[in-house]
Symmetry: none
Subunit: 173 residues, 2 copies
């Protein structure tokens, strides 16, 4: 909605800039053509100018689209208090039961099953497939299957991306 309008405004502004630049060029043509070698110069200027314009456009098209990273504060707060164990315990793998519970609506939105969420929770703790398998009393193959399904549902390619996405979506703490 807004993004689209901004996009059109961007294109419009871009077109105006282009037109203005052509006018400027036409003016420069009669102003500098006496210097006979100035053409290269202003083409250079055009190149530099539009490179910066391109960079600006590139930034505009990527960064601000983010704006609505809706993170459910309650979901975060319910799942959060587990990080108080600071850098003391290196590889301690405690209880299998994660103290936090997911937001059911979020799980429904992504179509994530309960078992998959358990895998996701263990995954976010930095466990390997084998460790997750031990935690959930299944084989590593099963963990891999769950993870593959999770990757599809979260639309990611790697486990680290899955953790990041799940975290920013409020699926895990």
């Amino acid at each position: 909605m807004k993004a689209k309008r901004n996009r059109y405004a961007l294109l419009l502004g871009y077109g105006l800039a282009l037109g203005g630049l052509l006018s400027l060029m036409a003016w420069l043509k009669y102003r500098f053509l006496v210097a006979d070698h100035a053409t290269e110069l202003y083409v250079l200027l055009v190149a530099l100018l539009f490179t910066t314009v391109g960079i600006w456009v590139g930034l505009r098209f990527t960064a601000p689209v983010v704006s609505t990273a809706v993170v459910d504060t309650e979901a975060v707060s319910t799942a959060a208090p587990e990080a108080n164990f600071q850098q003391k315990v290196p590889l301690e793998v405690p209880l299998a039961a994660p103290a936090c519970r997911p937001q059911l609506e979020l799980l429904d939105q992504y179509g994530i099953s309960p078992r998959e969420w358990e895998v996701l929770a263990q995954l976010s703790r930095g466990l390997s497939n084998e460790e997750i398998a031990e935690q959930l009393f299944v084989s590593t193959n099963t963990v891999k299957t769950h993870l593959s399904n999770l990757y599809v549902k979260l639309d990611v390619k790697r486990r680290t991306q899955a953790v990041e996405r799940a975290r920013s979506a409020g699926l895990i703490g």
Copy 2:
């Protein structure tokens, strides 16, 4: 030359493109100047070309095409007949670039160098070694070295653990 190859590859390519374009322009000058109005045309071409170059550069500097993928809820939960979830807004959860700064005391506490922190920040976004290398304009080998050092300093074995530890330690957002 080896060491600087990756660092200055972009600038080099840019310079070469600029030079090539100037040569092309010189050729076009004597080819099309009879048409008297062709100058505007090729300045336009220059503008468009370097706009794309700028966009490319801009994308290079920000995010590696994580594609902000909007998860289609209906496509995900194919067999979910309850279509009461019509909202598709909050699923746009891209992996935003961390513009945040680390806590210097924490970095000192772990002995993490600035460059290593940069790698860590990119790592927490779920990027692969190759993507991190592109972001930081180094080779994948360098990324691997930084990561190995990070693993030692964070006392972890895997990248997911490193992210978890760094997050709970407050090293990254």
